[in-house]
Assembly symmetry: C2
Homo-oligomer: 342 residues x 2
């Protein structure tokens, strides 16, 4: 168990380190904080904290920096979400206050704004109902062998895909297929849709619209796309500020990881608490050793939950990030409720 003073010292050390970026020594803590003890005493405490693994030295006679365990303790016990400055608040309200927008626009702008406000990388995931349902399906013939399929879900997601068919299709076949889809799939949860799409639908098409079999095959992929999570990433390049110790190959790997949205699923766990922080060594991937991911969930009642995340250096200002995220998700919840109401 840590004493009050030890906790204070740990807290001070992490704050000082976060703001200066340099290892912190006993003297600095003595002069820069309200802790009332001599540098020697603080030295003893530091030595103790180091034995417990909360802090560590970069070399034998250096000051101390927080260890992963230290950050973990700080995040779990010491973080004080910082109040967000007026001007920032105003920007958030302005950007998210504008109405009559596409869901995609809202998400993109949120990501952009969040990365600008934090100077880190922002990842935003749209609200996703526990069991999102297929609410609409259209087929539009653009010309003889070009067809656009539009898939709509109650999460506000609209996916479309254009198909080029091997051979021209009959208008009536098109209607038949659309009818089959609408009758058998609309209203079902997406999970269910995926299952039926593989099992029952081919059978029905073969029976009622055998000419359209070709089309059906191309169609599947549109549904698959709509089942994918939609990540909106912004400010990737901000990470450059925290990668001096990485070589080019690592940088490329890191960025190809962030560019490939499939990988983000691995990075971002579905969370059930308000805030979750994943620190350096808690990632499966070594590339993230010096990064932390702060994840905040937001709820849009009746329309599921979404995720806001900020990826920054492990030594980031958690106080500030927590503050911004908290304000942000409240405003976003608000904006989205309006969006669904309209």
């Amino acid at each position: 168990m840590l004493t009050k003073r030890q906790i204070n010292i740990l807290d001070a050390l992490i704050r000082l380190y976060t703001s200066t970026g340099h290892p912190i020594g006993s003297k600095t803590i003595m002069t820069e904080t309200a802790i009332d003890a001599s540098s020697a005493t603080i030295r003893n405490e530091l030595s103790f904290l180091e034995k417990l693994g909360f802090i560590q030295k970069t070399h034998s006679s250096s000051g101390r920096v927080p260890s992963m365990k230290g950050y973990r303790y700080y995040i779990d016990h010491l973080v004080k979400p910082q109040e967000v400055a007026k001007d920032k608040l105003q920007i958030i309200n302005e950007v998210l206050g504008n109405h009559v927008k596409q869901m995609d626009d809202i998400m993109n702008q949120s990501a952009k704004l969040l990365s600008d406000l934090t100077s880190y990388t922002a990842i935003v995931l749209g609200p996703k109902a526990e069991s999102s349902r297929l609410t609409g399906f259209r087929l539009v013939a653009l010309n003889d062998n070009l067809i656009m399929a539009i898939v709509q879900t109650d999460g506000g997601l609209i996916e479309n895909k254009v198909f080029r068919l091997p051979k021209p299709i009959d208008e009536s076949d098109l209607v038949k297929v659309a009818n089959i889809f609408n009758q058998h799939l609309v209203g079902l949860p997406l999970m269910e849709v995926a299952r039926k799409l593989e099992k029952d639908i081919p059978f029905l098409i073969r029976k009622y619209a055998s000419n359209a079999m070709d089309m059906y095959l191309s169609l599947e992929s549109a549904f698959n796309a709509s089942a994918e999570d939609r990540y909106h990433v912004s400010g990737k390049m901000n990470l450059l500020d925290f990668t001096e110790d990485m070589d080019k190959q690592q940088l490329k790997s890191l960025y190809s990881l962030l560019d490939n949205k499939g990988n983000l699923n691995v990075l971002i766990d579905p969370i059930h608490e308000d805030f979750v922080v994943k620190i350096g060594d808690e990632f499966d991937n070594e590339l993230f050793t010096n990064f932390s991911l702060v994840t905040a969930a937001y709820q849009v009642s009746g329309h599921g939950r979404g995720i806001l995340a900020v990826l920054g250096p492990t030594s980031m200002s958690y106080d500030e990030t927590f503050g911004v995220l908290d304000v942000f998700r409240k405003q976003l919840t608000h904006t989205l409720l309006n969006y669904y109401l309209e």
Copy 2:
């Protein structure tokens, strides 16, 4: 006028520099090339070439590196497009040989492939008819106040945009608007469409479908989007290999430039020759001092021309890049002809 030997020496120097990355001295040229002269003679020639501005020293006793003028001379007179290796040829054929694809997929895969083959950054611009025409326009009501507009051009471009309307719109108004658009705009060149959209159409709508004025306003942006060029960029991170002398801020600027597709218009000139190379100091932007852009045009008869471009270091292997681009654009022309035929 340069003598034969001087040309040979310049040629050799650039090749050696391109492959080693180090400044090249007289001895290296003597031993590594077939030029039959002593190092002293070569030294004299180098000194002469330097006086003319084709090459320069990095410091008073260093070897020589090509100057911008040297590269320019090399590109204009000495480049020998390199034959592309069998295995690379095969990959190109495979990837571009697959049929029944979306135009967008073809472009994206081309960019990906081109950047992989060159290890530089690839930029691909789809074929664009000298005067692309609007060939189709659809409005699909997704629900009461959600509408998808689909714009189609003869260049194979299909643009769609979803609108949320302030108030629900009547089905009949929708049809009216669609009719107005189809009657007055379809078949016209896009330039013309843009003009009419501002001038005549509002008048017509006010006359025949005054309820739909709101909608019309939202619609304009879909057309604007479809007029934009569609750049497909791949391998951005490959540039990291050639940016050691840039600081983080410059890197961020560079990438935000490449990310914003509007800026690419400034970078890439519409060209009328087969190959055009833009070297370091020929860019307006200082960020590109150490880069070169090799641009190749491809023709798809009857469907306009497109552009392939490779952005790499000024000291890149032009022989190889030219070779790859030449093969690539032939295969792409072929692929696209098939695409339009089907």
